[in-house]
């Protein structure tokens, strides 16, 4: 538990530090309501994908979901093509939006379920399986859209999700927070969460303990897929078009967020609240680099460097170094007793 709070404290400290640095550099305009809102509305897409990656990683045994952004794009593209073939976005805004959302979520769910079935039933290594589905999903999106951007337009409900505020908070950000809270609760209070973490800690023991291994794996990837579908909806809502190659660096960023959040790549430990905070930190850094007028390429470079730095942090126990009180427990992190929450 102490290890967890150390990570949490460090992430919170990083966030506060970034806000202060941002305010200092920009002379206060970094903290303006407008800038905060714009940052908050950019966050959900990548945050949802990161939660998906985290779940897959927690399942252990080399679990990882590389197909996230591809599935998000495919959900958006397929849903746009399917729904606009029998509804036009100009005539019936509400019906179009609802149909679009439902179809995109369903596609995300089934894509994730395919991943889950391939991994759990056929025993394909997650890296290989999600590499294959990543390519297949992108390929399907290309085939359906002919490689062009597909117009979604801005029907009422959908554009409200993408652009409007509720009490000065972007609606998409609220959706993200609610979804994150639901998943955090599921991990903490349901047997599913316990099974997932214990399975990641020791897959063999989990099988002997009689855990429904296939069910847990399929549920994990199905949830991850549904989150991708939701990310697809938000991408479509924020941009008027959907395209198969949107967000090409999201895969790295999602993994970076997850590693920064202290999720263990070998499985068995991860907290949603840390992932959310780490996504916020990354968004702040990204906006800071923007304020500094640096190019996208410098940002890619910085992300790569940051990922390796945080891997080193996880390896060499810098958290314990900064917060010396927590050192004692760090090496026992693999014990089931310290992983559940």
């Amino acid at each position: 538990m102490q290890r967890t709070s150390g990570q949490l404290a460090m992430l919170a400290a990083i966030n506060i530090l970034l806000l202060i640095v941002g305010a200092a550099i920009s002379g206060g305009s970094f903290l303006s309501i407008f800038n905060l809102q714009s940052m908050a509305s950019q966050l959900p897409e990548i945050g949802l994908l990161a939660i998906g990656v985290m779940l897959a990683m927690c399942a252990g045994n080399g679990g990882i979901d590389l197909s996230g952004i591809a599935l998000a794009n495919m959900s958006g593209v397929l849903s746009a093509v399917i729904v606009s073939s029998f509804l036009s976005s100009g005539e019936n805004d509400l019906a179009f939006s609802l149909a679009f959302i439902v179809v995109a979520l369903a596609i995300g769910f089934s894509g994730g379920l395919i991943n889950g079935i391939l991994i759990a039933r056929l025993n394909i290594t997650p890296i290989l399986c999600t590499l294959g589905t990543q390519m297949a999903f992108t390929g399907l999106a290309v085939v359906v859209s002919g490689g062009r951007a597909v117009m979604v337009g801005s029907p009422d409900l959908l554009s409200r999700i993408g652009n409007d505020m509720l009490l000065a908070v972007p609606i998409s950000f609220l959706i993200f927070i609610v979804v994150a809270a639901v998943i955090a609760a599921a991990l903490k209070y349901t047997p599913y969460g316990l099974w997932l973490m214990l399975m990641g800690t020791n897959p063999k023991a989990a099988i002997y303990a009689g855990f429904p291994k296939n069910g847990v794996l399929m549920a994990t990837y199905a949830i991850s897929g549904t989150l991708s579908g939701l990310a697809g909806v938000i991408i479509a809502a924020r941009n008027v078009n959907v395209k198969f190659d949107y967000g090409s660096s999201y895969l790295l960023i999602a993994i970076l967020i997850v590693v920064m959040a202290g999720v263990k790549p070998e499985g068995g430990y991860g907290r949603v609240v840390c992932v959310v905070l780490s996504a916020v930190a990354l968004q702040l850094m990204s906006s800071l680099l923007n304020f500094g007028g640096l190019s996208n390429f410098v940002r890619d470079f910085a992300w790569g460097l940051l990922l390796l730095t945080f891997l080193a942090v996880g390896r060499y126990d810098v958290v314990g170094f900064v917060f010396p009180g927590n050192r004692r427990r760090v090496d026992t992190g693999v014990k089931p007793s310290s992983t559940g929450t």
């Binding site: 056929l122 589905t133 297949a136 590693v259 891997l311």
Partner: protein, 344 residues
Amino acid sequence: MNASRIEQLKEDAARPQSFSLGEFIRRRPESITFFLLVAICVAVAVANPAFLQPATLIDIGRASVVMGLFALGVFIILAAGGIDVSFTAIAAFTMYSLTVLVQSYLPGIPIAVILIMAIVGGALLGVINGLLVHHLNVPSLIVTIGTQYLFRGFLLSFIGTVWIMSLPPQMGAFGRMPLFQFESANGAVITLPFYFLVLPIAAVATWWILNRTLMGRAIFAVGGNAQIASRLGYNLKTIHIFLFGYAGALAGLAGIIHVCANRQANPFDLVGTEINVIAAVVLGGARITGGTGTVLGTILGVLLIVVINSVLVMVGIPSTWQRLVVGSFILLAAAFFVTRQRKK
């Protein structure tokens, strides 16, 4: 690997008569790749006889050089149970910075030196990978995703983003140098370039390392079970550095050949083709969890992917289907090999 080979030999000796197809496939998974390759070639040749023209075949040979070099690097890492996605960034980094270097500072140096510099440069970047993988002790996929962005970001933000359309003359000449040349029926001159030779040489070198040296034995041992290998006395650090250094060297070489062959250096090139290469290696029968695979299978896998990419258009399937087809092939191959293993 070697132990299982001895077992196989014993089995062969014990029952030479009872040959079963399933057993053969389990032992040599690349035979499936070979059958698939032949089947596709025959099908395409029937659908469109133009496929069997020497021009097409030489195009396929040319296209497989860069991918083949990448694939050999990926294969050797895969055999040791790791995975690398940074090799395209290493290739892009080496090829572009080397081209800039040669163009602006060392215009007169011979092509042989350029090739050696590319190999050394790629190997150095690879060694960075190896050190990180060894010391950070996390899955190599995550480390190499990080270094991929690191190398590429460094290249694009600090070295340059401009396409170089006019290469230094010796590099252009190397790209055009013919191995042999002949005139086809319709009068066009068809050339198999000299650089094609690099692929067989690299393949033989890789085969030799894997099958005839202690390092090769160590690589398969680590791929089988890293912990046991290290307790047997294999030095994991040396192996990691060698693996990633070797893959980096192949990537650097592939990058410079890519530049010479296309007669231009585009810093945005290559990155994004990793999945194709990994797919080729996996289709060649190497298990992604390590410890298995052959050089021959890898080369067959590369040919399979190159053939699929180039024949889709020829049989009238739009090129937009390419990713979907390759993606499905990966999944099918993975499912096939896994079910085969389980039957054993």
